[in-house]
């Protein structure tokens, strides 16, 4: 099966690739969101930590 | 000191709510008026032809009943939570579920029951045949009663929330979809001359399930809303 045939997906290319593309996007967005959320929370926590330390000294 | 029996406490709650509602009669009437107005929207939006309307009559009567009931549910617990009555009930040592159920029953008598009375009239205006009246009434009795309890759970969860009525509807409507499916379908089957026993029995089963577990969920939700 040639690359052309593969991409063509028997005529259903639009549907198949959109579906797989959406899946990739959703999975990737989950990845970004999870990591971003963790980093953001760590940032906020560290900043809080430092503010408390300053207030105490 | 003898603790008052649960049943007399529940009866007191019921009578008190009834009396309070009597003084604010217009608030009780509003959901009913809403019901009639909403059902009027459908012929205006589609067609005046009764034979065509009759195809959606069952659905319209049911959906409008759901929406009207939800409208009335938002304020079910609000005033009691706000003035501290609910806190007293939680602390009183009486089984909270029964007291809350008494409130829900009173609420149903004031809103659900009148809906069931008006529904056949509204349905006829939409082309619903007289033969389906019995099924309509039975299905709505079960449906509105179940919805009152489900709505009670939702109201208990959202009692402190600003503009909680939309959130309440969002939470309760998906849970009410099985009621809608079975209730409306039962009426349609009656219209076709088939026996609606199947969906009506399922409706009854759901009602009993919700009746047995509902008060538990409601009291858990009220405690959470009151205790913080």
């Amino acid at each position: 099966m040639s690359l052309g045939d593969f991409l063509h997906m028997g005529g259903y290319a639009g549907y198949v690739w959109t579906a797989y593309g959406l899946t990739t996007m959703v999975l990737a967005l989950n990845w970004v969101s999870a990591r971003g959320n963790e980093a953001e929370q760590r940032d906020l926590a560290m900043r809080r930590m430092n503010i408390d330390k300053e207030n105490r000294t | 000191m003898r603790r008052a029996a649960v049943s007399s406490a529940a009866r007191l709650v019921f009578r008190r709510d009834l009396t309070l509602a009597w003084r604010r009669w217009d608030e009780v009437a509003q959901p009913l008026i809403f019901y009639v107005v909403v059902t009027t929207l459908f012929p205006l939006a589609t067609t005046p032809d009764l034979s065509e309307l009759s195809k959606i009559a069952s659905g319209v009567v049911w959906v409008a009943a759901l929406l009207s009931s939800l409208l009335a549910l938002e304020s079910l617990f609000r005033s009691d939570v706000e003035d501290g009555t609910m806190e007293q009930w939680v602390l009183s040592g009486q089984p909270l579920g029964w007291l809350l159920l008494a409130k829900v029953v009173c609420h149903w008598v004031l809103t659900g029951l009148p809906l069931v009375v008006i529904a056949p009239i509204v349905g006829t205006a939409l082309g619903l045949p007289f033969a389906a009246w019995g099924t309509l009434i039975v299905s709505l009795l079960l449906g509105t009663a179940t919805l009152s309890i489900l709505g009670g759970i939702g109201a208990a969860l959202t009692v402190g929330v600003r503009r909680g009525s939309v959130l309440l509807s969002l939470l309760v409507l998906p849970l009410a979809m099985p009621l809608l499916i079975f209730g409306s379908r039962a009426v349609m089957m009656a219209m076709d001359g088939d026996s609606p026993a199947g969906p009506l029995q399922l409706l009854a089963a759901i009602f009993f399930l919700v009746l047995s577990l509902g008060p538990l969920a409601m009291s858990a939700a009220i405690r959470i809303s009151v205790e913080s």
Binding site: M1, F6, M9, G10, G11, Y12, Y15, V16, T18, A19, Y20, L22, T23, V26, L27, L29, N30, W31, S33, A34, R35, N37, E38, E40, Q41, R42, L44, A45, M46, R48, M49, D52 | I153, L157, T158, G160, V161, R162, G164, L167, L170, L171, L173, P174, L175, M177, P178, I181, F182, R185, L202, I206, L213, A217, A220, A221, I224, S225, S228
Partner: protein, 242 residues
Amino acid sequence: MWIWVHKFGSPPHAYRLLGKLAPWFGWPALGLILLATWWGLVKAPADYQQGDAFRILYVHAPSAWMSMFTYVVMAVAAGIGLVWRIKLAHAAAAAAAPIGASFTFLALATGSIWGKPMWGTWWVWDARLTSELILLFLYLGYMALRSSFDDPQRADRASAVLAIVGVINVPIIHYSVKWWSTLHQAASVTKLAKPSIALPMLIPLFIMIAGFQLYFGWLICRRLRGEILRRERNASWLNEAS
């Protein structure tokens, strides 16, 4: 056993453990998903009825499965948090919700895309899609309730009650929708059910489901760490945290 649970349930331990656990979920997940994608798109033969369009099954069915699996996980975690007052369980439920909602959305989108070449319309009220739609409403309601409270403890506990009520309702909803959808079809076949297909065509499906499950594990580990950080913002153990 309870000592272990309590030890695990303590934030610093959980935070560290989740951090170590995450790559064990993540890398195998990536591998399996890539393998399943290749297998499903290249190696598996085309369906004689649906042609290459049926390959959408390999992303639609796992998404639908994960959407339901996540809801149950969320409800169980919420229940544990409510009954035993374990904050970590509440945090897990909160972490799971957006993941489940995104899987539900994906199931709906891929189901709709699959429907167009097969049935001619972008939407069909078939049992599975309708159930997924209602599930999406349940997720959105849960997340809306959570965000409507300022007090995190109330948010946890109120949404836990909602999740439990929801999970009890889900079988009822499924059954009623199935009953409703068969009323106008001669054959009571869910339109987007797996067509009765041969084993070689099922293998990429199982691999993809396994991949999605492991990915869910990775996502929960990371999101749960974020939740712990958010809830423990003032705790001193954060200084030593990696």
